[in-house]
Symmetry: C2
Subunit: 137 residues, 2 copies
Amino acid sequence: MALISEFKGGMEFLAKTESGHELVLDAGVSSGGQDKGVRPKELLLVGLSGCTGMDVVSILKKMKVENYTLRIEVENEKTEEHPVIYKKIHLKYIFHLEDESKKDKVEKAVNLSQERYCGVSDMLKKSSELTYEIIYE
Amino acid sequence: MALISEFKGGMEFLAKTESGHELVLDAGVSSGGQDKGVRPKELLLVGLSGCTGMDVVSILKKMKVENYTLRIEVENEKTEEHPVIYKKIHLKYIFHLEDESKKDKVEKAVNLSQERYCGVSDMLKKSSELTYEIIYE
């Protein structure tokens, strides 16, 4: 099994993942594309948010923490020279918790993901300065 | 501007990228999800295929190479321990060229992407053994 990404003309690629899902990739108009799909590089940040996000919600489930909302915002700073990479990545875990006494469990879940479980974080840390914070709304 | 990834329940996240595109992320059924969308980690490989693929097609355009098909296959080998990362990543650039005398240009375009332009390759090389080959069909 392998990921297959097929060139469709212009700058467009159609990817089919190992899990069987399809994604359209395209460059923006200023880079010769038609903006038909997502930029390749930003998928690293999408993957990062989902990887750590799924860790956190599954750890919180085991800890019986319920009734919360979570969104993850990912900020970045790129290098200016080629190859353009993410020099810095900053993750914001933004929670609304019904029971504020659960904050210590939230913190533990986020730290466990970042320090131990999230493979995407572990990979991106090798090339980017990766920081994170927890915010309660 | 930042990427925003919102928890939707279960293991599902809905991400909205800086370029304005939406993606559904979900775990597979065996990992407690419902397979409503792509796995986070495989997005690294999708991003890699698109990053280097767009490099290659834009370099070939500048070299006046036309009339070809390209698909990129990405194979991987993961670690078994946490955090699970891609230990090895192998890219296959599979071309069908009408004019076989252009093979040297294809090779140059692929090498330029891998050695100089592709930021995703540059990042993933720091954590994974990244190899590639060109195949003509």
